[in-house]
Amino acid sequence: MGVENKIQLAVEHSLGRDAEFSLRLNVLLPGRGITAIYGPSGCGKTTLLRCMAGLEHAEHCRLTIGDIEIGGLPVTQRQLGYVFQENRLFPHLNVEENLDFAFKRRFSDNGPSKQQVIAWLDIENLLARKPNQLSGGQKQRVAIARALLTAPRCLLLDEPLAGVDSKARHPILRHLEALVDQLNIPMVYVSHNLDEISRLADHLIVMDQGRLIADGPLLEMLSRLDLDLTRQENAAVVLNAEVLNHDDHYSLTQLSLGSSLNSDGAASSVETQLVVGRLAAAPGNTVRVRIPCRDVSIALERPSQSSILNILSGVIVGIERVDGARAIVKADVQGQSVLARITRKSLEHLALETGKHVYLQIKTVALLSETLD
C-alpha cells in the first residue's frame, strides 16, 4: 500500500463557548479496509467523523484521500458516504425511493449498481416498504446501501449498530465484513464497542479527550500493554490463523498460527496450533480468531492431563501490572501476540519474566470471521 493511497487527516476544532472541548488530531489512515476510531463516549470520535464529512465546520481541516484534498470543500462536494447512528432514512420515501435518491445523485459511475447493493445488503424484499415499517436492523442496512449508492470515495460509519438490538447486529456485521471484499473504498468506523472493532477493523485509532492516543494495525494495537485497551475487563487479542485440516470424527478444525506449512511439508508444531469447532473454510484459508485475556492461563510445563485442547507455547515479551491484584502477561507465539491476565500472586509464584518460555492454556477461542484474505 503506497502512501499515495492513504488518507491524511489533520483536524483542529473547538466546541463550546470557551473551547471547553477541543479536537486536535493529525493521523494517517490506510487507503483500504476498515479503520476503526475507538474511544470513550465524549472523546470526540463522532465530531471527528463529522469534521471529515464537513458537517462540522472545523477551524482547520485537511483531508486528503489519494492525492485529492477535500478538507476545504462543502459537504455536498466531498463525495463521502455517511452512515449515521440514527439511520436518517427519508420518511416520505419507501426503501427503493430512498436508494434512488442517492443513486440519482451519485458522484461517479464507477460505483456499485443498485442490484449489487441490494443483493449485498439483502434488502430485496424491503424495497416497497416505508422506513416506519422496518426494524432497526433493516433500517440500518438500507442506510448503508443508500450511502454506498452515491459511489463515495470513502464510507464513514458513525456507530451504525448502536441503535440496533443485539440479535440484529450479527447479520449487519456479516454484511459489513463481506462489503470490504466487494468494495475497493476505505471505510472509517466509529465505535466504542471492542467486539465489533475486533471483528471488522484492520486498523485502529484510539482517541481520548479530542486527542490521538495511538494508532496502528488492529492486531498489534490489541496487544499493546501501554494502552487502556488491554486493561479492560473484556480485553482480547485477535490472531490470524490458517486452516490446517478438519477432524470430522470430533467435529473440530485445526488452525495454525504459523505462517504456513514448512517447505518440506512438515506440519507446524502442535504447540502453535489451535483447535476450534468444525469450520466451513477449506484448508489453506485464513481465519480471524479472538482470545479473551481472562481465558488464558500460564504454565511453565506443558500440562499433559487437561481438558483444555488449546495449549500454545510462547515466550514472554512483556509484563504489565494492572492493579493491586492482577497483571497482564504478553507472550509471543510465532510472531503473534497472546495476552494472559493472571494474578500478581501467580506472577511471582511462577517467577515470570521477560524472555521466559511458557505454555499458554486457552479456554475459549472465538471465531471472528471465516473469510479473511
Binding site: 464529512a53 458537517l55 459537504v75 455536498t76 462536494q77 466531498r78 463525495q79 463521502l80 458516504g81 455517511y82 449515521f84 440514527e86 436518517r88 427519508f90 420518511p91 416520505h92 435518491f101 442517492a102 445523485r105 451519485r106 458522484f107 443508500r146 450511502a147 452515491t150
Partner: protein, 226 residues
C-alpha cells in the same frame, strides 16, 4: 335574481388579488418562516412580532400607514412612481402590497410551525449525498412539510378574499381596479339592497367555510394516517 355584472367583476378581481397575494406570500413567507424557525438571534423575535402585528392591529391602522407610505412624497410611493409611472395608492398593485402585509402572519405562522417540526438531521444526510440547497428544499422540506404549505396557502388565500379595512383605506372603490367583494357588499348595504348583499355575503361565507373544511379535513386525514 343573480349577480350583477359589477359583482362578477368584483369577484374576479378579488380572486385575482387573492391568487397573486398568495403566490407572493409563499415565495416571501417560506424563506422568512425558515429563518424564524432556525434563528436564535434576539432580532428574530422582533421580526416575529412584526409579522404577527396584522393579527392584532385594526386593518384601518395598517391601511392608514400604508396610505401614507404610498404617497409619492414618501420613499415607497416615490420609488414605485419613478419605476412604473404609476401611483400605488388606489391601484391594484397597491392592494397587492397591502394584502401581502395584511395576510403575512397567516402564511408565515403555519410554515414556521411546520419547519420547527421538521427533522433537520435529514438535511445533513441529503447533503452527504450531494444534494444542494434547492434540491433539499424541493425534495425533502416541501414534501415533508406539505401540510404546512397547504395550510399556509389556503389561509393566506381565504384571508385575502375577506379583506376589507385595508382595501378601504388604500384602494378606495374603483370598479375593476380596487373594488373587491367585501367593498361591493358594503356598497349594496349602503344602498339598502339587502338582496344583493345576501348573495355576496352568503357566497363569501360558503366559500370560506368550504375552504376551511377542506383544510381541516386534509390535515385530520393526514394526522390519522401517520
Amino acid at each position: 335574481m343573480s349577480l350583477l355584472p359589477s359583482d362578477i367583476t368584483a369577484l374576479w378581481l378579488t380572486l385575482q388579488l387573492a391568487a397573486v397575494t398568495t403566490v407572493i406570500l409563499m415565495v416571501v413567507g417560506a424563506p422568512l418562516a425558515w429563518w424564524l424557525s432556525r434563528s436564535e438571534s434576539r432580532f428574530a423575535s422582533v421580526i416575529e412580532a412584526t409579522v404577527a402585528l396584522p393579527l392584532i392591529l385594526p386593518p384601518t391602522v395598517i391601511g392608514f400607514y400604508l396610505l401614507m407610505a404610498f404617497s409619492p412624497d414618501n420613499f415607497l410611493g416615490g420609488s414605485w412612481l419613478a419605476l412604473t409611472g404609476q401611483s400605488l395608492a388606489f391601484t391594484f398593485s397597491g392592494l397587492v402590497v397591502g394584502s401581502v402585509i395584511y395576510s403575512l402572519p397567516f402564511v408565515v405562522q403555519p410554515l414556521q410551525s411546520g419547519f420547527q417540526h421538521f427533522d433537520h438531521k435529514l438535511l445533513e444526510a441529503a447533503e452527504t449525498m450531494g444534494a444542494g440547497t434547492l434540491d433539499r428544499f424541493l425534495n425533502l422540506i416541501i414534501p415533508l412539510t406539505r401540510r404546512a404549505f397547504a395550510t399556509a396557502a389556503l389561509l393566506g388565500f381565504a384571508h385575502t378574499m375577506g379583506e376589507f379595512g385595508v382595501v378601504l383605506m388604500i384602494g378606495g372603490n374603483i370598479p375593476g381596479e380596487t373594488q373587491v367583494l367585501s367593498i361591493a357588499l358594503y356598497d349594496h348595504v349602503e344602498a339598502l339592497d339587502y338582496g344583493r348583499a345576501h348573495w355576496l355575503a352568503g357566497g363569501l361565507l360558503a366559500f370560506s367555510f368550504a375552504l376551511l373544511i377542506l383544510l381541516y379535513g386534509f390535515n385530520r386525514n393526514k394526522g390519522l394516517k401517520s
